[in-house]
Symmetry: C2
Subunit: 518 residues, 2 copies
Amino acid sequence: MANQADVIVVGAGLSGLSAAKLLHEKGIEVLVLEARDRVGGRTFTEHNPKVKYVDLGGAYVGPTQNRILRLADEFGIETYLTNEVEDVIFYTKGKSKRFTGTFPPMGSFLAYMDMNNLFRLIDQMGEEIPMEAPWNAPKAKEWDSMTVKEFLDKNVWTAAAKAFATCFVQVNVTSEPYEVSLLWLLWYVKCAGGSMRIYSTTNGGQERKFVGGSQQISKRIAEKLGKEKVILSCPVCHIKQNGNDATIKDLHGNTYMAKYVIMSVPVPLQNRIVYEPPLPANRNQLIQRMPMGSVIKTFMYYDTPFWRKDGFCGSSAIDDEGAIIGFTMDNVNPDGSCPALMGFILADKARTLSVLSRDERKQRIGELYAKVFKSDQAKHPKHYEELNWPAEQWSGGCYTTMMPPGFLTKFGSELRKSVGKMYFAGTETATEWSGYMEGAVQAGERSAREVMAEMGKLSASEIWQREPENKQVKSSPFPSTFMNRHLPSVPGFFGLLGSVGILSAGVLAAVLYQRHFR
Amino acid sequence: MANQADVIVVGAGLSGLSAAKLLHEKGIEVLVLEARDRVGGRTFTEHNPKVKYVDLGGAYVGPTQNRILRLADEFGIETYLTNEVEDVIFYTKGKSKRFTGTFPPMGSFLAYMDMNNLFRLIDQMGEEIPMEAPWNAPKAKEWDSMTVKEFLDKNVWTAAAKAFATCFVQVNVTSEPYEVSLLWLLWYVKCAGGSMRIYSTTNGGQERKFVGGSQQISKRIAEKLGKEKVILSCPVCHIKQNGNDATIKDLHGNTYMAKYVIMSVPVPLQNRIVYEPPLPANRNQLIQRMPMGSVIKTFMYYDTPFWRKDGFCGSSAIDDEGAIIGFTMDNVNPDGSCPALMGFILADKARTLSVLSRDERKQRIGELYAKVFKSDQAKHPKHYEELNWPAEQWSGGCYTTMMPPGFLTKFGSELRKSVGKMYFAGTETATEWSGYMEGAVQAGERSAREVMAEMGKLSASEIWQREPENKQVKSSPFPSTFMNRHLPSVPGFFGLLGSVGILSAGVLAAVLYQRHFR
């Protein structure tokens, strides 16, 4: 019967499809139910003559993301480097500062010391957090009772470092520092390999994109499964378990049956389903408490990649309350066609500016880019693309869920806990690169192996598997200099000075003044 | 046609029914769709021979809650006083301290000064917050970027005051201080008339209960509407608007049509419905960001109200990390039958202890009450009742939603903003006693008048209406003494001392020691 399978996967995003693929390869009958009329979830590649193709959703991959790279290899999908040949820009106080590398130079030695200390601290604290169980970190409760803003207020002394740290949070998790739990952010950065790996282009999370777009991977998996195994436009609204099997109903009244269910829709959308029996109390509350981040992904298409001519690679971090975009990257197609700048409208700005019209956003972006890239050409795009992810009913936002203070220590351990015969996939349940395509694949395959273990087809110890490094896309360690390791924090520095002379009090006062009044 | 009406109300809780009642009285055809097999939502009165009746959900009413009292009067439902004749208990450091009145005495003058300052501050800050638009408060952004814990850490100096303040937050909003936005808590307390009104029994929110239970009001409204107008066991899963009317589908595939929709289910459950067209971006994200609080309401039934004999009224606030219950009240029926102690398992404890069995919870409660009320009789209840609200699929938790940092300033203004022909009720959308039965009625009636205004049956200026004071249940102002108004804060006090002598530094050091190490 067509509506019956060993395993039903709810959600044909990358995670659900990765689960289905693995089960299918092991000869287990699987059926994937998808609410949208397409596969891919938060990966979505638009095709039209103006752009040829463009990833309006998840796009970037890099070293250590070996699972998604393995899938791409399997389907013969190649990657190409994000352009970072020319200079990067840090736009702050209305000026574009050029730099190369990952983190921008700070205006003063104090600010440099401050930023060095901050990211060293973030990575050191991350070392105390178990990726698979962050709630077990020795200071889990303390760090989870604190917002990232509170942490920055306590540990960052200069306005310049704080401004950049805020950009870092917004661009990495599409939320504001005052919305998210410190424990969660530390864990999230750690799962991505640390502050350098997560934020870097070269040797980091943004190193590459897929030639032809990221959605191809989902499409190719769906093809492999076969058309009749991936049912589109079928929003699941009811899951009933009786101990032996599960009966699933969609919004059109169709019924499906399976022995196991893999739930692979974004956590807040799991609230869209009625469960029988009802979910356990903590899971019933968990799905109310992990909202999706807020981002509008935009692309401005130009006649030429004018920024390159001027020695800019296209990457910029923008620190400006009034600026619509927080972060840009070059988006010229690998064949050199369709030059564009990708830009993110992030966190609170995505909320405030989602009420503007598409054309108003386009115009504001052009005006901003003219300042950031110092060229009036920026004001004259020949084409514009955007996707407002918070308006997407079947994603709820992007890139991923965030966790507010108090969540991880009280609800975190429920995230992957099966409910009857229902198992949980989705990048939010990953322990490596959670929130990324890599995490989606890790979580999907892990959930498939959980089901196989339950079926007696593999042992429990085989559920979690390491992934060998990709042959083409290799990671290098990030060099840490003697300076990086030993430079004191700002208060540490004045402590040192203090042992030299009373002078420091006056300087410290000046810093405090700068900190609070600038 | 039975499945058609001018207005369809989704949710037969007190708010939805209040809306339906008002529309019905104005001759407007209304249909109420309810997911559960009963009306009343978060008001639920259990009937059985052991208890006669007991409110396992919302129960308390008091002065200034004039709308819910008006409805009760209309149906001839009487109120009776919560017992507060004998002493109240503040159980802290393993000891029960007796007191009378609202706030417990602190152990030292410093702590007294500290608590006086804290609640004065909460009320003063509340004065700057417009009830109908808290996001417009002059310091909205600053206060919304901060958790209540952060605020307490900065403004409370003594361990005793901080312990009580934590109890205050937990019992009023069933969440932890580190989970919730300061702006939201200040607004919530203000909407309830201030810190004294919200927390008091006599002259406050807990002054009375309904003879026969609070669910009666919903039942009587439903009777008045008529059986065929309130459709039970009909979870709405799809709302389609075409500009002129709305087509609503339930989980069983039934279809209903109306010109207007009043949405009156708890905010996170609005995520359970598929909308066509999809919700605007900010509302799509709003419904992911307002989770329900966490509370298990418990009742221990005894042969006699033994606590009264010993001079305790039954009310207690319990400050103890290991204690299962945070707050108790006497629950003897108004005819003197079925003596019981009501106790709340609050916030994080509701999450941790929801995995225990019902019997384990009962036993732990008995052991705790034996200590708090100093009587071994507490260990021998003859009956136990509880309701674990976080496990309720159709409420999601209790008493109400909470707002995490950053929510109110960015999403708050969307709360009552209609979407096409869909209007919003629910106690969370109220501006007086939000989170309470009173707020449910205010919001329901306001939403009904919004629809009537849209129908041209009343003017926009009539949508918001004041409610005259109830004839029986009258409020008095809370007296504020010269001391209360003029006593300094702890640092203020040492500032004063400082002008007297250098002595203060040593004392301040001692306080700081106590603050950080106790």
